[in-house]
Amino acid sequence: MNWDSLAGFLAMGGRGAFVWGSYGVTLLCVLLELWLLKQGRRQGLRALWRRQQIDIDEAAAMPASQDNP
């Protein structure tokens, strides 16, 4: 064990700002990427689903279109 107290752990031998600045920003970047991925998945799926619904509605509104091209 390297640390005798939480304060000592956070201080990182007086270089806490550099060490935690590195780890903190890395964590933020990862969280941002995961959030963007989740958002993108949801929005993309919603857009695709809507487009599909429109296609289905249009096809239903024109039942004779295949018989009379």
Binding site: M1, V19, L45, R46, L48
Partner: protein
């Protein structure tokens, strides 16, 4: 097992969906183990004190940023030569994560440079070529998003990925070719690593975590790209209807 079986989006999509949580959990476990070793087992560095602990993200991120770019170049070459749709989709899915690791390598390098070199930034060969890699990632992303037609975007992006790959060996060997402020490689295949064993293991575990994370995230991303591009096919229409009705589309 026939590998080509999984080269079609229809079969790859559900496979990727099953692999994402596996690699996500793996990444979390590896990162937890790596951070434990890095902070609680690895000793204080005799010269640098505690600030060297930045190494556990800096080196894996830098490795990953270079490796992902090479993988993008590989998929681009495959896509250009064999005209396979999935290859270009993989290139695209990898790019944002590569850009992220490149940024992390630059950021943590700056914060490590200040207390050890006395400066956040210096225009030496290693740092400058790594910055160029960042711009190559941004350039790739800007280009493929600017071109409307996906096939043209794929081909243009593939050219950037292939041409830019020349930069990767320049980054890697820059510390040997030029007199850089950046130190030489601490770990190489040809000689024993110049660091304590627990430090090395912490770093390698973090590198494996970065690998698993990249696989999980890029597979999740490629699924979205696949669904969008294949939306007119039967399997994608069924998946959109299923996922949409399940609430994913309305949430």
């Amino acid at each position: 097992m026939n590998l080509f079986h999984y080269a079609s989006p229809q079969t790859f999509y559900p496979l990727a969906g099953r692999l994402v949580p596996v690699f996500a959990v793996l990444a979390a476990l590896l990162a937890a183990a790596g951070l434990y070793l890095g902070f609680f087992v690895a000793p204080t560095d005799a010269q640098q004190g505690e600030v060297y602990r930045i190494i556990f993200i800096h080196v894996p991120a830098a490795w990953m940023s270079m490796f992902i770019y090479l993988v993008m170049a590989f998929w681009s070459a495959v896509g250009l030569i064999f005209n396979t749709r999935l290859s270009h989709m993989m290139t695209r899915a990898l790019a944002p994560t590569g850009a992220l690791f490149c940024f992390v390598a630059l950021w943590t390098g700056a914060l490590w440079g200040k207390p050890t070199w006395g400066t956040y930034w210096v225009w030496d060969a290693r740092l400058t070529s790594q910055l160029l890699l960042q711009f190559l990632y941004f350039g790739y992303l800007a280009l493929v998003h600017a071109i409307e037609d996906p096939r043209r975007a794929d081909r243009a992006g593939a050219i950037i990925a292939l041409v830019g790959a020349v930069n990767v060996p320049v980054i890697y060997f820059s510390v040997q070719w030029w007199n850089t402020l950046h130190q030489g490689a601490s770990v190489s295949l040809s000689k024993a690593p110049s660091m304590a064993t627990t430090m090395l293991w912490g770093m390698l575990l973090m590198a494996l975590a970065a690998w698993a994370y990249t696989i999980a995230v890029s597979l999740a991303r490629v699924r979205g790209i696949m669904l969008e591009r294949e939306r007119r096919t039967d399997w994608a229409m069924a998946e959109i209807a299923r996922a949409g009705a399940a609430g994913g589309a309305r949430a």
